[in-house]
C-alpha cells in the first residue's frame, strides 16, 4: 500500500515508487521537487484506488476482536476496495467517541464508525449520516433483521447503520462445582436465587460475584427490574421513560429486590472490574454472576467448556426476555467512490462469512438469525434461539445499562440514582424512585 493520509472526504494516496524515481533523476532540486510532487500528488492522485477506500473507526482492539475486524478488511480487499483501519483503543469506546466528535466537527468524518443505540439517532439529527436503503433493499434487511433491531438501525425511516453482533445482557453464569457443594440447582426465579444464595453462603462461598461500578450496578438492576416487572413494565420505565412507571409500586418493588441482592454479594466489591468478578466464579470463590455474554470470553480464556465447566442460563425470572446490546457500524455521508466502497462495506458486514468469524471471536451471536450455528458453543446457540423466540413473542428489549435504550445523558442520570441507592445505607426505595422520575424529566 502506498502511504495514505486522510485529507478531506477522500483519501490522498500518492505513489511512492514513482516519486522516488523522479527524485533520483534530479538529486539537486530534491527538496523543491519533492514539495512540488507532493503537492501535485495531493491533487492528481486523490482516490487513486480504482474502487475507493473506506475508513472505519472502531475500538475492536483486543486480540480476538482485532482478528475479527481483520476478516472484514480481507473481505473488502478481496473485492478491490481499500480499507483504512482507524482503531482507537481504550475506555470502552470513550476515547474513540472523542476522536470521532473532533473529526466530525472539523468536517472530516470517517466513512463508518462504531456507533450504537440511540446515539445513531443523535448523529442522524446532526445530518451527518448517509443512507443505505439500496443495499438494505437488495439484501432484504427488512426480512432478515427483527423489527426491534432494524428500528435502531434506521434514522427517519432510512437505514443508516448496520448491526455487527448481538450481545445478550440478561445472563446468569455459574460454577457447577460450587453449586454442587452447596447442594443447589441453577436458579430460574428470583426466589430460587435468594434461597440458593443462602445455601451457598452457608457452604462458605460468595453467592453472587459483582463489581461495584455504576454500569455493573445498572446491569444487575435492569435485569432485576425485568424479572420483577416483566417486559411491558421494562419498556415503559426504562425505554419510554414514562414518569408514572418510573414512580410506580412496581419500580419500588424492583429497587427493593435489587437492594436485597446486595446481601448475596461480598463486602469488598467496590470498584472491582467485571472480569475480576468473573474470575471469582472461575476460581470457585463465588458461585454466580449476573453479566452479559462478553463474560464468556473470560471463561473461554480460562479454557473452560460451556455447559460442563461453567453454566449459563437466562437470568432468574427473565427466561422469556432478551435484553440486547448490539454493536453497529453507522455510515457517514460521503461521496463518490468512497460512497461505493461504503455500500459494499455495509453489505459485507451482514454477510455470513463476517458474521460468523466476528461473533465466534467476540462471544456474541450473529445479527442475522439464519446462520448455521454448529461452530458456536451451547450458550451462543441458546442465545440465538432465545433471540428468535423473543423477537417473535415480543420479549426483545434494548439494554438501558449498555446505552441501547436511552440517550447518554438520561442513562447517566439513571446510573447515578441506581448506584447511589445501591450503595447508600439509609435511602428508601420510594426516594430512589422519585429521583428516577426527576432524572428522566430533567433530561427530557
Amino acid at each position: 500500500m502506498p502511504s495514505c493520509k486522510p485529507i478531506g472526504f477522500t483519501s490522498t494516496c500518492f505513489n511512492k515508487a514513482r516519486l522516488n524515481t523522479r527524485l533520483n533523476r534530479t538529486p539537486f532540486t530534491r527538496t523543491r521537487f519533492a514539495l512540488a510532487t507532493a503537492l501535485a500528488a495531493s491533487v492528481s492522485f486523490t482516490s487513486a484506488h480504482a474502487a475507493g477506500d473506506v475508513e472505519v473507526l472502531h475500538w475492536w482492539t483486543s486480540g480476538g476482536e482485532a482478528r475479527a475486524a481483520n476478516v472484514l478488511k480481507d473481505l473488502m480487499e478481496a473485492e478491490g476496495y481499500g480499507w483504512q483501519d482507524f482503531a482507537v483503543a481504550g475506555g470502552g469506546g470513550e476515547t474513540a467517541m472523542t476522536v470521532l466528535k473532533s473529526r466530525a466537527m472539523s468536517g472530516n468524518p470517517p466513512s463508518a464508525a462504531q456507533i450504537k443505540g440511540p446515539e445513531i439517532q443523535e448523529w442522524g439529527e446532526l445530518g451527518l449520516l448517509g443512507e443505505l436503503d439500496d443495499v438494505a433493499e437488495a439484501e432484504g434487511w427488512n426480512q432478515l433483521l427483527p423489527e426491534t433491531v432494524a428500528e435502531i438501525m434506521r434514522y427517519d425511516g432510512q437505514y443508516v447503520a448496520v448491526p455487527v453482533n448481538v450481545h445478550r445482557v440478561n445472563w446468569l453464569w455459574a460454577n457447577p462445582n460450587v453449586l454442587e457443594q452447596a447442594g443447589v440447582e441453577m436458579p430460574t426465579t428470583l426466589d430460587e436465587l435468594f434461597a440458593a444464595g443462602e445455601a451457598i453462603r452457608e457452604a462458605g462461598f460468595i453467592p453472587l460475584a459483582h463489581g461495584g461500578q455504576a454500569w455493573q450496578d445498572a446491569t444487575v438492576f435492569e435485569t432485576v427490574l425485568l424479572a420483577t416487572g416483566g417486559v411491558e413494565f421494562y419498556q415503559q420505565a426504562l425505554v419510554d421513560l414514562d414518569p408514572e412507571a418510573l414512580g410506580s409500586e412496581q419500580m419500588i418493588e424492583a429497587l427493593e429486590t435489587f437492594k436485597r441482592l446486595r446481601g448475596l454479594m461480598d463486602d469488598d466489591m467496590s470498584g472491582r472490574d467485571w472480569n475480576i468478578a468473573t474470575s471469582m466464579v472461575i476460581n470457585g470463590d463465588a458461585a454466580m454472576q449476573l453479566m452479559g455474554d462478553w463474560a464468556k470470553g473470560e471463561f473461554t480464556a480460562a479454557e473452560l467448556t460451556a455447559g460442563e465447566d461453567y453454566l449459563c442460563a437466562a437470568a432468574p425470572g427473565t427466561a422469556d426476555a432478551f435484553t440486547f446490546n448490539i454493536d453497529s457500524l453507522a455510515m457517514f455521508r460521503v461521496a463518490g467512490e468512497e460512497h461505493e466502497a461504503q455500500q459494499a462495506l455495509a453489505r459485507l458486514v451482514l454477510e455470513p462469512t463476517f458474521q460468523e468469524a466476528f461473533n465466534l471471536a467476540k462471544g456474541s451471536i450473529p445479527a442475522r438469525p439464519d446462520l448455521d450455528m454448529s461452530d458456536f458453543d451451547a450458550c451462543a446457540r441458546q442465545s440465538l434461539e432465545d433471540f428468535q423466540r423473543t423477537a417473535d413473542e415480543g420479549g426483545l428489549v434494548p439494554s438501558m445499562a449498555h446505552g441501547m435504550a436511552v440517550r447518554a445523558d438520561v442513562q447517566g442520570a439513571i446510573f447515578d440514582v441506581v448506584t447511589n441507592y445501591f450503595n447508600a445505607r439509609d435511602m428508601e426505595a420510594e426516594q430512589a424512585a422519585q429521583r428516577m422520575v426527576n432524572a428522566a424529566q430533567a433530561a427530557l
Binding site: E94, T98, K101, A104, M105, E119, E122, W123, L126, G212, Q213, A214, D266, D267, D268, M269, S270, G271, R407, A408, D409, Q411, G412, D416, T419, N420, Y421, F422, N423, A424, R425, R435, A442
Partner: protein, 310 residues
C-alpha cells in the same frame, strides 16, 4: 571616491548598527516570548472563554450555539451529584492542605535537628512525590481493600474484629482520598519547609535564646513567622493539586461507592465527555474556575500586599 565614501560611511555604520542592535535587544525578549504568549492566550484564556460561551448554550454531544442563558447553571444547582462533588472538594481540599502543612512542618523541624543520615531520610520522605497519582491510587486501593489489604492482614494476625473498610463505606470513602494524597504530598511540603528553615539566619534564633525564650517558643514566635512565604507557596501548590485531583479519584475509588467520592473534576469529565452534556459540563468547569478564583484572589491579594509593605 571610494575612500571618501568609506570615510563617510564608517562613522555612520556603527551608529546604525548600534541602533539596530539596540532595537534588536529591545525587541528580542518580546519576539522570543511572543509565540508562547500567543499560544497561552489562545489555548488557556481563549478556551476558557469558549468554555464560558458553551456553558450558556444547550450543547449536548457536539458544541452548538443555541443560547439558553444560565439554564445549565440552574440544572447544575438542582443536581444532587454536583453537590456531593462540591462538598467532597471542600472536605478533601481542606483536610489535604491542612494535614500536609502540619505533617510537613513537623517533619521539617524534626529533620532540622542536625540528625544523622538526614539525606537518606529526606529522600525517603520525598520519594512518594516521584510517583504519579495513578500509582499512588492503585497501591492504596489494594492496601485499603478490606479483603486483601490492611484489614485482612491485621485479621490474619488474630484480631478478628478489626475493621478498616473506609473505601467501601460511602460515608468514609472520601477520607481514603485524603489519606493517599497526604501520603504522597507531605514529603514534598517537608522539603519546602526544610529549605525555608535552612534559610533563616541563625543570629535571630540565638538572639531569641539569649532573651530567654524556650525552644518551642522560639519555633512558634520566631521561626514559623519567618516561614510565612513558604506557607504561601505550599498552600498555592497544594490547593491546585487538590482542585485538579482527577487521576487519584479514578485510580483509587473510581468515584465510588456509588458516586460518594466524586470531585468536580470527575463530574465535569463524566458529563462533558461520556454523557454528551457539554453544556452542563462547561457550566461545572466554570464554577470550578470561580471556586478557585474565590479562594486564591483574596489570598494572593493579602499575601502580596503585605509582602510589599513588609
Amino acid at each position: 571616491m571610494t575612500i571618501v565614501s568609506h570615510a563617510q560611511e564608517r562613522p555612520v555604520r556603527p551608529a546604525a548598527r548600534r541602533t539596530t542592535a539596540a532595537h534588536l535587544q529591545d525587541w528580542l525578549p518580546r519576539l522570543v516570548l511572543a509565540p508562547s504568549v500567543a499560544i497561552t492566550l489562545f489555548f488557556v484564556y481563549g478556551f476558557m472563554l469558549w468554555t464560558f460561551v458553551l456553558s450558556l448554550t444547550s450543547s449536548r454531544m457536539l458544541p452548538s450555539y443555541d443560547f439558553v442563558g444560565f439554564a445549565q447553571y440552574a440544572r447544575l444547582m438542582a443536581n444532587d451529584r454536583w453537590w456531593v462533588a462540591s462538598t467532597n472538594l471542600v472536605i478533601f481540599g481542606g483536610l489535604f492542605v491542612t494535614i500536609c502543612l502540619v505533617i510537613g512542618v513537623v517533619l521539617a523541624i524534626l529533620l532540622d535537628q542536625r540528625i544523622r543520615q538526614e539525606g537518606t531520610l529526606r529522600t525517603l520522605y520525598l520519594y512518594p512525590m516521584a510517583l504519579s497519582f495513578i500509582v499512588t491510587g492503585v497501591v492504596w486501593k489494594w492496601l485499603l481493600n478490606p479483603g486483601l489489604g490492611i484489614q485482612a492482614m491485621v485479621r490474619s494476625w488474630g484480631f478478628e474484629s478489626f475493621t478498616f473498610n473506609w473505601i467501601v463505606d460511602p460515608d468514609m470513602a472520601i477520607y481514603t482520598l485524603v489519606l493517599a494524597a497526604v501520603w504522597q504530598a507531605s514529603g514534598f511540603v517537608m522539603a519546602l519547609f526544610l529549605a525555608g528553615l535552612r534559610g533563616i539566619d541563625d543570629s535571630i534564633i540565638k538572639a531569641a535564646q539569649l532573651d530567654g525564650a524556650s525552644l518551642p517558643r522560639v519555633y512558634y514566635r520566631v521561626i514559623l513567622p519567618c516561614l510565612r512565604p513558604v506557607v504561601f507557596s505550599a498552600v498555592m501548590i497544594l490547593s491546585h493539586i487538590a482542585i485538579k485531583s482527577f487521576d487519584l479519584v479514578v485510580a483509587l475509588t473510581g468515584g465510588g461507592p456509588g458516586y460518594a467520592t466524586d470531585l468536580p473534576a470527575t463530574f465535569m469529565y463524566a458529563h462533558a465527555f461520556t454523557r454528551a452534556q457539554i453544556g452542563l459540563g462547561s457550566a461545572s468547569a466554570m464554577l470550578m474556575l470561580g471556586g478557585v478564583l474565590a479562594i486564591l484572589i483574596p489570598y494572593l491579594y493579602s499575601e502580596l500586599r503585605s509582602r510589599k509593605h513588609g
